[in-house]
Each structure stands twice: as structure tokens, then as C-alpha cells.
């Protein structure tokens, strides 16, 4: 299968010189689902931000859907990617549920009728029908997470970057989110999570990050290898 994400010799350091990771390689094929685990501070979220062109100071090569990461291609790359942030409050910045879900579509200059139709459809799909006019800041944490997911799903991207999609959710909400993600069969997914059960269900490949590098890249069987996980400080 064709690689939709191709990362070569990628390094990133903070402005103070602290190295986050060095010379990492990563490939994700079309439709593949990859889970990333690693201790806090290993650079997992930073990696996702680099893949979406949200951080532009790096060394190495990033190619998304055949487009190299540079100023010229960033708008095109972002159209291909749907990024779910760890904290839904980072992603919810408009007053109503409708405004939040429609934000990305409006930036694509889609007609008003199409936007309304798509937003209504996606809200019905995620189980929040008739929530268009509700103030987003009056929703529960789980509902805000669902609205964040809806705002990404509605863009119909080819690649999903999901940062801790199941964190801080109750059992039911977690199950619902996992169900929605598992239905995204045609698209490539990179999922950062400490929820190994969710990764077992959703991913075919696991990457372990730590000590400024990729410690493991391979089969998801590793998630049940406690000795190896301990060795990776997990």
C-alpha cells in the first residue's frame, strides 16, 4: 500500500536546546491505524503537531500525501488531516455547537446549505441531534469531546491524528468514541493513548517513543509484553 505519511530523520528540540527526539523515521500507509505510546514528555503530541505543520521548526523530512512539509503545501496538508486535540477546550472556541463544528467547513468556503446539512448529519451521527444551538461551554466534558471529534469528522480528512481520544471519559463515553474511531476504516490514523485496551482494538501497528527516539515499531502484541514495556519505562 502507498505511504500517506513519510517521515525521515526527523529531529525536534525546544528553543532552549532540550532534545525531544532525534532522527526518527515513520511511515503510515493509506488506511493504516498506528498507535503511539510512550512516557509523558517523549514528544508524542509534538510529533503530531509537526505532522500537521503546526510547529515549523524541525530538521528532517515530512511528506504527507505526497506533499513535502513547507509553507506552500501546509494549507493542502491541513486539508488532508483531521487533528483531535487532547483537551476539547482547546478545540472549542466558538459559542455554539454549530459554530464549532462548522468552523473548518466555513474555512473551506463550502456553501451555507451544504455546511448546515453536513453539521446536522454529523451531530446526528455522533448522538448529539438538535444540539446545534446549544452553547458549547454548557456541555459536559464527554459531550465536548464528542463535539471536538465531530468538528474533525465533518471535514472528511484522509488522515486522523488523535491525541488521547479516550482520556478523562467515563466508560460509556469511552466506548462511544472507540466505536466512532473504529468505523473510520478507509482513513489512516495515528492515535496517541495511554489506553492500551483501546489501542488493541483500534490499531494494527504500535510505536513506542522514549529516550529521544523510537524504541519500537511493529506488531500490537507488544502491548501485552509487560517486561518490554517496563524496559521502555511504561
Amino acid at each position: 500500500m502507498q505511504n500517506i505519511i513519510d517521515v525521515k530523520n526527523l529531529s525536534f528540540s525546544y528553543p532552549d536546546g532540550t532534545v525531544v527526539f532525534k532522527n526518527i523515521d515513520l511511515t503510515v500507509s493509506d488506511g493504516e491505524s498506528v498507535g503511539i505510546i510512550g512516557p509523558n514528555g517523549a514528544g508524542k503530541s509534538t510529533l503530531l503537531m509537526l505532522l500537521d505543520g503546526l510547529i515549523d521548526t524541525h530538521n528532517g523530512q515530512i511528506i504527507i500525501s505526497g506533499m513535502p512539509m513547507n509553507k506552500k503545501h501546509i494549507p493542502g496538508i491541513r486539508e488532508k488531516i483531521g487533528f483531535l486535540f487532547q483537551d476539547p477546550d482547546d478545540q472549542i472556541f466558538m459559542p455554539t455547537v454549530f459554530d464549532n463544528v462548522a468552523f473548518g467547513l466555513a474555512n473551506k468556503n463550502i456553501s451555507e446549505e451544504d455546511i448546515k446539512e453536513k453539521v446536522t448529519r454529523i451531530l446526528n451521527y455522533i448522538g448529539l441531534p438538535n444540539h446545534e444551538k446549544r452553547l458549547a461551554n454548557h456541555l459536559s466534558f464527554g459531550q465536548r469531546k464528542l463535539v471536538s471529534l465531530a468538528s474533525v469528522l465533518v471535514m472528511e480528512p484522509d488522515i486522523f491524528l488523535l491525541d488521547e481520544p479516550t482520556s478523562n471519559l467515563d466508560r460509556r463515553e469511552r466506548r462511544i468514541i472507540i466505536e466512532f474511531i473504529s468505523k473510520l476504516e478507509g482513513q489512516a490514523k495515528i492515535i496517541i493513548s495511554h489506553d492500551y485496551d483501546a489501542l488493541q482494538q483500534l490499531c494494527s501497528k504500535i510505536i513506542i517513543m522514549g529516550d529521544n527516539q523510537i524504541l519500537y515499531s511493529g506488531d500490537k502484541k507488544v502491548l501485552s509484553d509487560d517486561a518490554f514495556l517496563n524496559k521502555c519505562k511504561l
Binding site: R78, I81, F93, M94, D99, F103, G104, N107, L135
Partner: protein, 256 residues
Amino acid sequence: MHHSFWDKHSHINSIIHRLDCRVKIIVFTLLLLAIVTTPGQDLIRFLLFGTVIMLIIFLSRLPLIYVLKRSLIVIPFVLLIAFFIIFFNGTEVVSSFNIGRFKINVYREGLLVFQNVLCKSWLSVLCLLILAESTEFNYLLKGLEKLRFPRIMILVISFFYRYVFILIDQLDRMRHAVESRGFKAKLARRIKILGSMIGWLFISTYDRAERVYMAMLSRGFTGHIHSFRKFKIGQTDIIFSLVLLSLILYIRIGVF
């Protein structure tokens, strides 16, 4: 986040809400200009402007008590700026009283300045409140953009609107964290801790604001404001603006 957005009444269906945003911005700006250029001693004109504003509130179907309550936000600032002028500015003493050994005079000129500042600021805030509460925020920004308002200013307002809630939210969390640990201290230590809190507040909200901006970028934000409301100046807009502008002109330059 449990605070309300400023335009929470923007979905009411009223004649004022239905007006084209550009018409509203222009008419309210002219009303504001008329108010601030009215001579300070002209109480009758201020009363008439107040009546016009009440009429607009009535037409807009905004909750009167809510609007009046919110407009009182200006009072502390007016008191801070203009209250002491009553006692220091002028030559004609209207009244005097003693505080301990000190004799305090109340001057006529000072009272006029106070009345001037109070009326103008309160009426101006009422105008702005009606405009903000009766117009969806994005539509308002788009209206400003259509009126060729500088884009950088529109972006600043837009980000301020988004980030001010993050600031309040963060402040609430810090206050809860402090209160939950039974914080009690003398004034000097309180000030020191408050200083640290403000510093930390700015660092943490800066980080948060960065993430919100990234979330906007990741969904294709390029700095353009999008609104689903249509811009169309119709008969109602023309009639409303003509009636209101005539009233404003009559009150401002008419002889009473």
C-alpha cells in the same frame, strides 16, 4: 467553562436583530458620536437620547433588567475618574461639609463634569451593549470587515473574544486551587501570592491560547472571518436608519 458569551441574546428574533449588521454599526456609531459631542450641561438632550435607547431596547426584545445591570459595569470607572473632580474642580461652591478638621467643598463645575462623564459613558455603554447583544459576534466582525475596518483590528477583537474566556476560566481554576487549600494570609503575603498568581495566569493562558490557535489553524483558519448571515440592506434597514438618524439629528441640534 460555565460563563456566558457576550452575544448570548443574538438569536432573539426582533426587528433590531434582523437589521443588516452594517446599518446597525453605522447608526449606533452616529448615535454614539451624537452622545459624546453633546454639551455636558444639556441634561434634557441626555434624557432624550436615553429615551431613544430605551425604545431600541424595547424593539430589540432584549431583557431590560439584564441590559441595565450589565451597563452598570461602567459606574466604578466613572466614579474612579470623575467623582473626585466634584471636590477639586471649580470656583462656585454649591455645598460644603466637614470631615474631621477638613472642610470639603462641592463645586458646581465639578458636578457638571461628573454629570457629563456619567451620562456619556453610561449611554455609550448602553449603545454598545445593544449592538453586541443583538448581533451574532461573527456577523458583527464580518460587518466591520465589509465596512473596511482594519483587518488587524478585527483579528485582535476576534482573538480577544475567544481568549478572554480562557483567561477567566484559568483564573477560576486558580482561585479554586487556592481556596481549596484554605488560603489565609496577611495583606503583604496576599499581595505577593496574588502577584505570583497573575504571572502564572499569563504564562498558562499564553500556552492555552497557543493551543487554541493551533486548533484553529488545523481546521484551515487563514485569518478570514466567516459568517452565515447574509448581508442585504432592505426596506426595514432604510426606514429604521432614516427614522433613527432623524431622531438623533433632531435631539442633537434641535432647540429645547
